[in-house]
Structure formats: structure tokens, C-alpha cells
């Protein structure tokens, strides 16, 4: 868990950051957080459970997807972007709330 789901709404709701900047800032902030979290995860869990074959194929897709998504972000109006973010947070929130 990188923390993006906390960083995005807090920036927009507390500091009035435009949605586009908030989403981009969050993804940049996740880089050091995710890197720092990796050794902590291994240390705490004892035996690291990572399937590098799965990771490789996931990453092939996700890297292309992240590039396309980041390029597209500049072309989505801020207001529509807020609705999209609210929808994603809402769907995952309801899922976690009722089917934890």
C-alpha cells in the first residue's frame, strides 16, 4: 500500500490543490514510500513471498498503462477528473467497508 488513496483526497480537500496536480504529486510521492516499504515488508514478514514471474508480467502491462494514463491526465478537464477519482475511491471504499 503506497498511500495514494490518502494523499489524493487530502491534497484536494485540505489544501485546495487542483485535482491534476494532486494525482501527479501522489504518484511521485509513492516512489520513495514504496521503495522504503519493500525492505520493511521483508524484515517484518520474515520470509519474503514474492513471485517474480507474476511481477514481471504485471509490470510489463502496468508500466505501459501508467505511461498512457499519465499522458492522458493532461487532457482530462479537472472537474471531470474529480468525479472520476471520487468514483474510484467510492467503489473501493464500499468494497472495503462491506467486504473487508
Amino acid at each position: 500500500m503506497g498511500g495514494g488513496f490518502v494523499l489524493v483526497p487530502l491534497q484536494v480537500l485540505w489544501t485546495g490543490m487542483p485535482q491534476r496536480n494532486a494525482n501527479a504529486n501522489s504518484l511521485v510521492a509513492i516512489i520513495p514510500i514504496a521503495i522504503a516499504a519493500l525492505p520493511i515488508y521483508y524484515f517484518r514478514k520474515g520470509s519474503p513471498q514474492v513471485d517474480f514471474h507474476l511481477a514481471l508480467f504485471l509490470v510489463v502491462g502496468s508500466v505501459l498503462g501508467a505511461y498512457a494514463g499519465a499522458r492522458l491526465l493532461s487532457r482530462i478537464p479537472d472537474r471531470e477528473l474529480t468525479f472520476a477519482v471520487a468514483a474510484v475511491l467510492g467503489i473501493i471504499g464500499v468494497k472495503e467497508l462491506f467486504f473487508p
Partner: protein, 130 residues
């Protein structure tokens, strides 16, 4: 290359796309792709997802920087704060039952979604495009 490899690539593509636009790491999407799609155990799925987040965020983050979407200072503060938070969280990790944590977390997300929707709706009524 098997069907499951193709499923991973397709799922990764979708998760990466949401990651790039919404600004999340993608872990919450990587895990169900593996557990539901390929019947991988929860523990392996979570560990693998943590690894997959790093290159995804690096490519998405660099693209955002090049597109001029990033305001550097807040991003650095959040990144630094997040690292400290991650270390502290691991050190003082209290054993909170998973389902309770997930429900608190879900409530926070639903509340945030509601507030964001209201904010977007007000701007919609005012007719502001940006």
C-alpha cells in the same frame, strides 16, 4: 507465454492506467488480479504487488514530471513524510484485526469520495471548467 501471462499483462495494463490517471500505486488492483484471476495466495499476491508498484510509480511519476503535472514541493514533502510514516508504522505496528482496519479505511474512502463528489458538483453548477 501462457494465458495467465496474458491475463497478467492485460490486468497490469488496466491497473497501470488507473495508477497513472488517479495517482495511486496500483496495489489494490494488482492483488485481486492475482488472487481472483490466477488463484494466487493472498500473501504472495501482496508481496508481489509491492514489488510491481515500484516500476509502475517510477514510470508514471516521471511521465507526470515531464508533462508538467507535478508541483515539486508538496510531492517531496509527501514522499518524505510518507517514508517516515512507513518506517514508524512498521516499528509501532499495533496488532489491529484486519477486517476492522479495512472497515475504518473503507469509511474514510467513502467519506473522501463523497466530499470530492460534492466539490466537483459545486464547480459543475458554477459552470467552471477548471
Amino acid at each position: 507465454m501462457t494465458w495467465s501471462d496474458l491475463l497478467l499483462i492485460a490486468g497490469g495494463l488496466a491497473a497501470g492506467f488507473v495508477s497513472g490517471t488517479v495517482g495511486i500505486g496500483g496495489g489494490l488492483l494488482f492483488v485481486p488480479i492475482m488472487t481472483v484471476g490466477l488463484r494466487v495466495s493472498q500473501a504472495v499476491a501482496q508481496g508481489t504487488s509491492l514489488v510491481a508498484i515500484v516500476p509502475t510509480a517510477i514510470v508514471g511519476g516521471i511521465t507526470h514530471l515531464r508533462e508538467g503535472n507535478v508541483t515539486i514541493r508538496p510531492a517531496l514533502w509527501m514522499g518524505g513524510g510518507g517514508v517516515v510514516g512507513a518506517v514508524l508504522g512498521a516499528l509501532v505496528a499495533v496488532e489491529v484485526p484486519g477486517p476492522i482496519l479495512a472497515r475504518v479505511w473503507g469509511a474514510f474512502l467513502v467519506f473522501s469520495a463523497y466530499r470530492l463528489f460534492i466539490q466537483g458538483w459545486r464547480r459543475y453548477q458554477r459552470g467552471l471548467s477548471d
